[in-house]
């Protein structure tokens, strides 16, 4: 089992234009103890923008859960939640 919170930032065309470039700076914003417990990856277009039911880009997948219209603030809060949840499980 992976002990780190998995964060996948879509870097496709639509997500990039709608702010994915800002989102990749998230690692720098994480406090030191948190940073070690998160793995951040870029992924090519995950295709969620093609269907409006998923909401608007940029999209980020955190622990398998999709986050639409992702902002640094939203991603940060979701990561903190997931880290807490992982800690509780242990």
């Amino acid at each position: 089992m992976n002990t780190k919170v998995q964060v996948q930032i879509c870097v496709g065309t639509a997500c990039h234009i709608m702010g994915a470039a800002d989102l990749i700076t998230i690692e720098d914003l994480l406090a030191e103890p948190l940073r070690e417990r998160v793995e951040i990856k870029g992924v090519t277009c995950i295709g969620l923008c093609k269907d409006e039911v998923h909401g608007k880009p940029p999209f980020v997948i955190i622990e398998g859960q999709m986050l639409a219209e992702a902002t640094l603030d939203k991603v940060l809060r979701r990561i903190e939640m997931c880290v807490e949840r992982l800690a509780d499980r242990r």
Binding site: V11, I17, M18, I24, T44, C45, C49, P57
Partner: protein, 387 residues
């Protein structure tokens, strides 16, 4: 036989104080051959320029129409006016014709300085025969190009560089040849490196004030650099596999421009695209990695940025920014390639029509068209297939 690319660079400087160059150079590539013509109009300025232009145009057009070289030369010599006072033709010329099937070449000189031929960086004394056409002596040399060969056509303005300024008799054919040998020692990647160097020296010997129009054509026979670019998902999903396979089997370097396109290829290979997020900039999405693919980038934004870069640097790779983002790497790849094949998928992501986007990113076709136009102007052989 190694597949060669005939890399041509031509440069000219005009006589100091003149508004037009009396030397004219024209090159043309057809399916079967490459043709180069350098013509030097008698004197300088407007009259020289018009005569040299006429000469190059007539020769190029006739050779493109597959008229034999001897007939072309006869027509041109018969057409050129002769200076009544000096009894010499109003323009001289050198023609080089290279056949693509076996890289055999023929060089014809009419009153122009003999062409220089270099093999393995050394000047090779060319075997020239003289034939008479319309009572004028024409020098002809023939041979077959090998990888690394360099041929130089010049106007007498280069040979006379320095005359009365830094040298009593000018630079001279032998000294120019020696200088070219020096340039070839560094094994230049392109013909421009040599022509640029020789013409800079010419300019310097004239102390920045050329006493004559001076021009040079460099022909470097080098390995062909091929590139295939796959961009955009195909319209027909059922045909994807065949397209991906053809792409992965293509000769030379392979580039994918498009995240979804990258995913299609990765899926076909049973792999996943690895994204290097550190290569991302606010303007350009990051680079991806996939085995068998030399560069993987996002599509429209990166290609638009790359086109902007090519226009800004005037297609000079040395003038590209030194950073390493996807658009700059893509520009380098494109400028290094001689033959580029685009496989353009026409499937459109509806979301790209979104008015929220500051620029219209849906028109992949228009972008490719603009890019192809620019690359053709640079003498690259570009083909496009839509799928």
């Amino acid at each position: 036989m190694t597949e060669l690319f005939v890399d041509i660079s031509d440069l000219a400087v005009k006589k100091y104080g003149e508004s037009l160059c009396g030397d004219q150079i024209k090159t043309a590539r057809t399916e079967d051959k490459t043709i180069i013509v350098l013509s030097d109009g008698l004197g300088s300025g407007v009259k020289a320029s018009i005569l040299a232009t006429l000469t190059t145009e007539i020769i190029i057009r006739m050779l493109k129409a597959d008229v034999g070289l001897a007939d072309v030369v006869e027509t041109v010599i018969g057409t050129l006016p002769v200076c009544k006072r000096r009894k010499i033709a109003y323009s001289t010329f050198a023609v080089m014709e290279i056949l693509h099937r076996d890289y055999t070449y023929k060089i014809v000189n009419f009153d122009s300085p003999p062409a220089m031929f270099f093999r393995q960086g050394r000047l090779i004394p060319a075997e020239r025969r003289t034939t008479r056409i319309r009572e004028r002596d024409i020098s002809v040399s023939e041979g077959q190009l090998e990888q690394g060969d360099f041929v130089c056509l010049l106007s007498d303005g280069v040979l006379h560089a320095g005359l009365g300024v830094k040298m009593n008799f000018g630079w001279g054919w032998d000294n120019v040849a020696e200088h070219v040998e020096l340039c070839l020692k560094d094994e230049p990647k392109c013909a421009w490196e040599v022509t640029h160097n020789v013409l800079a020296e010419t300019h310097a010997l004239y102390a920045g004030r050329p006493g004559d129009d001076a021009s040079i054509v460099g022909v470097l026979a080098r390995k062909q650099n091929r590139l295939t670019i796959l961009t955009g998902p195909p319209l027909d999903r059922a045909g994807e596999g065949a397209i991906v396979e053809r792409f992965l089997e293509s000769k030379g370097r392979r580039i994918i421009c498009g995240g979804t396109t990258g995913n299609i290829v990765a899926e076909h290979m049973g792999e996943e695209v690895q994204v290097d997020i550190r290569s991302m900039t606010p303007d350009v999405p990051p680079i991806g990695q996939l085995s068998g693919v030399d560069l993987l980038t996002e599509g429209i934004i990166t290609m638009s940025k790359m086109l902007e870069l090519l226009q800004e640097c005037d297609c000079d790779a040395a003038a590209l920014p030194s950073e390493r983002d996807a658009a700059i790497l893509l520009a380098h790849e494109i400028l290094t390639a001689d033959t580029i094949h685009f496989i353009v998928g026409q499937s459109i992501n509806e979301y790209y029509q979104n008015p929220e986007f500051s620029k219209h990113i849906s028109i992949r076709k228009n972008l490719i068209r603009e890019l192809v136009f620019l690359l053709n102007q640079q003498g690259k052989h570009v083909t496009v297939e839509y799928c």
